[in-house]
């Protein structure tokens, strides 16, 4: 008769698919019954909030969409809530992307979630953002860092018209905007190096402040720039967006997603702890190598 496997051996041999199902189900529950777990606000999120709170209708902000549709769960809530805050402050907005070709889809998603942004030809009511006057969308611009540098030097050297073919000189929003010096802030939503491009080409050369809404990995990479005063603040993925939603009161998708995030993280931590205990217990017995 063979030896009866211990509980640790059974855990070591557990089918991974059971864990995946457990994770999947644990993510569903918070969406069905929100738990409202507490959320502390990071200093970096406060920094972005406080900076934008000082801006007004006389300022123009560039919102760089450098995250694709695949990163929507992480980056879109941040883009939306910061846009809502900027709209609340009456700041003029220029949207573009120097990184992702699917930016039109992200712009549509922002527009749907921030209904004040009225597109060309749409009727703008009181409090709405009129296209060409309060906001504008330039679409995708190829070229990466050299393009970022050229835009900082002279926007008109790169762009002659907006996404819809309207010439820049016919758009009132550009009447006082020529280069990076005329921009009060760049908000960049990144899954890659684009935030660095703005720090190097806009902040270092023209002093234009940069705020980062990156995926979680970008946060730790961008932290030295924040500490060095080269970025005014950062939002850490969906968590940063949830913090910003709490600060502004525009509760949305990030707040809903945070419960699911917390539960999934707790499950992951438990799985790591149990797997390690089981590894050492079975190794001591001479099982796992």
């Amino acid at each position: 008769m063979g030896e009866v496997p211990t509980i640790w051996e059974k855990i070591s041999a557990l089918d991974k698919r059971i864990l995946y199902w457990a994770l999947f189900l644990s993510l569903i529950i918070p969406y069905l019954r929100p738990l409202g777990l507490p959320l502390s606000i990071a200093e970096t999120t406060y920094a972005v909030y406080n900076f934008i709170n000082k801006l007004g209708p006389e300022h123009t902000v560039v919102v760089g969409i450098h995250s694709g549709v695949s990163a929507w769960p992480e980056c879109l809530p941040g883009l939306v809530v910061v846009t809502k805050h900027l709209v609340q402050r009456g700041v003029k907005l220029i949207f573009w992307s120097i990184g992702y070709v699917d930016v039109d889809l992200t712009m549509d998603a922002i527009k749907t979630r921030v209904p004040q942004l009225k597109g060309p030809g749409e009727i703008a009511g009181p409090g709405d953002y009129k296209y060409g006057i309060n906001w504008v969308y330039m679409g995708y611009i190829a070229g990466g860092e050299p393009t970022s540098a050229q835009l900082a030097d002279d926007i008109r050297a790169v762009l002659r018209a907006d996404k819809y073919g309207n010439l820049i000189d016919t758009l009132p929003i550009f009447s006082n905007v020529r280069n990076a010096r005329d921009i009060a802030l760049v908000v960049t939503s990144d899954t890659g190096d684009y935030g660095w491009y703005y720090v190097r080409q806009w902040t270092m050369r023209y002093g234009t402040p940069v705020a980062e809404i990156g995926i979680a990995m970008i946060y730790s990479e961008f932290m030295p720039y924040y500490r060095a005063g080269l970025a005014i603040g950062m939002l850490k993925g969906v968590r940063g967006a949830a913090e910003y939603e709490k600060l502004t009161g525009f509760l949305g998708e990030a707040t809903v997603a945070m419960d699911a995030m917390n539960i999934s993280h707790i499950l992951t931590i438990l799985a790591i702890i149990i797997a390690n205990i089981s590894y050492f217990m079975t190794r001591r017995k001479g099982g796992a190598k």
Binding site: K16, R17, Y20, L23, F24, L27, I28, Y31, L32, S70, A71, W72, P73, E74, V101, D102, T112, R113, Y140, I141, A142, G144, E145, P146, A149, R160, A161, W196, V199, R200, Q201, T203, M204, R205, I215, A216, M217, Y219, S220, E221, P224, Y225, R227, A228, G229, L230, K236, G237, V238, R239, E253, V256, A257, A260, M261, S264, H265, T268
Partner: protein, 215 residues
């Protein structure tokens, strides 16, 4: 709150998205099945099509229209681009190297302007500047000391001109551990990112199946 899609294309789009999500995630349960491969191929095809159309539109708007308007300087870019297309042909591949050297030079030249000030001087300044004495909390001082000492120890670990023995043994060992902690933090952030992706898909599926409201 937005309503559930009501147009035919909106409903079809949502359901196709949901079914493709299930097809892609079927990989972790059932490995590479035909359903997974179908989802994978559709994804690659759509991504390529979007990139191709965007690139063509860019070329048309940023280059062709400008040349047609008499701005012949943009022909330089066209010629350099065409030279790059010789890369697959062994006999004339050397032509593409001129464009490559131009691109490398341009990228380096543009990047270097900010690299020294932002990535080197700025980072050093950020690391060695102590917090303001009047407002700093004990945690700020801990962070400052941790960053200063950590940076020096990790640099020591990466100094390979001196053997990591004797007086140099413990500092480099410690530097290695600090590096591992940093990598752990980075990995933790990666886990957060991947979990968000999964949570986003779960939310989308629940929305499409009308279990929870549309965003």
């Amino acid at each position: 709150m937005m309503p559930y899609p009501t147009t035919i294309e909106g409903i079809i789009g949502a359901w196709v998205g949901a079914l493709l999500t299930l097809a892609i995630y079927s990989y972790i349960l059932y490995k590479e099945t035909r359903i997974y491969r179908l989802g994978e191929h559709i994804y690659i095809g759509v991504a390529f099509a979007v990139s191709l159309i965007t690139a063509t539109t860019q070329l048309w708007k940023q280059v062709i229209l400008r040349i047609m308007a008499g701005e012949y300087i943009y022909l330089t870019g066209v010629i350099l681009g065409l030279m790059l297309l010789t890369m697959p042909f062994k006999r004339i591949r050397w032509i593409s190297r001129y464009t490559m050297s131009f691109l490398v030079g341009l990228g380096f030249g543009v990047g270097i302007r900010g690299v020294i000030t932002a990535d080197i001087i700025g980072q050093i300044r950020g690391s060695i500047t102590p917090p303001t004495i009047t407002t700093a909390t004990p945690l700020d001082w801990f962070n400052f000391i941790w960053v200063c000492i950590g940076t020096l120890l990790v640099i020591a670990y990466f100094t390979f001109t001196v053997e990591h023995t004797g007086l140099y043994y413990y500092p480099t060992k410690l530097g290695r551990y600090i590096l591992l902690i940093a990598l752990g933090v980075y990995y933790g952030n990666t886990v957060q990112f991947r979990m968000t992706m999964l949570a986003g898909r779960v939310q989308f599926l629940l929305q499409v199946f009308k279990i929870i409201p549309w965003p």
